[in-house]
């Protein structure tokens, strides 16, 4: 099981703050998981488009596309940060 979190504009666009997801077959990385979520269509496809510069964290560390994702991980997706 994966815990997936969405923040800020991404949370609003997908209408989802968090979800639990069985690690989909063939998904081993952040990029793979993103592709899986995009394939849901509609708001998901649009909100997670490459042009949106979606950022990710795995287990609360900033992650890249190739960062591994495995069962039990907490994965978060969000726009570029704007604090400070």
């Amino acid at each position: 099981m994966l815990k997936i979190l969405y923040f800020a504009g991404l949370r609003e666009a997908t209408g989802s703050g968090s979800e639990e997801l069985v690690l989909p077959a063939g998904v081993h990385s952040v990029e793979g998981l993103l592709a899986h979520l995009r394939a849901r269509g509609g708001a998901w496809t649009e909100a997670l488009a490459v042009s949106k510069r979606v950022r990710a964290a795995v287990n609360q560390d900033m992650a890249a596309g190739e960062t591994p994702v495995k069962d039990g991980d907490e994965v978060a997706f969000f726009p570029p940060v704007t604090g400070g």
């Binding site: 900033m62 570029p80 400070g84």
Partner: protein
Amino acid sequence: MTVRIQKEDFDVSREIAALRSGNPQIGAVASFIGVVRDLNDGSTVATMTLEHYPGMTEKAIDKIIVEAKGRWQVYDALVIHRIGTLAPLDQIVLVVVTSAHRGDAFAACEFIMDYLKTQAPFWKKEQTPDGARWVEARASDDKAAERWGSKG
């Protein structure tokens, strides 16, 4: 090392006194306060709401401070970042660094702010006369963080 995420405002004098307390080897205290402006990207800002990623925020800022301590001679560092709804003139963030000498204090303080701007999971939503909008990340913030070189 102190990291606090809070709704409440902070008092700079009190925070600096606490950070300096009991260390007479400190000769330099550099600090930075980020403040809500009433105008951003051409629109009037009535209020701003700060969202964050609890847990990761503290962890990310801890990492930034540890990195700064590895690069410069620093005694201690403090980061306070507010969340929730803020208005123009409100304080948003405080970074304080103590050191023996000013060069280290200035560099570490600016480094922490630059990395916080690109690495700490906060997002600002502004209320303007045209409605609410999420603040866009600035390319200049990426550049500011990049000029410190690779993190490793």
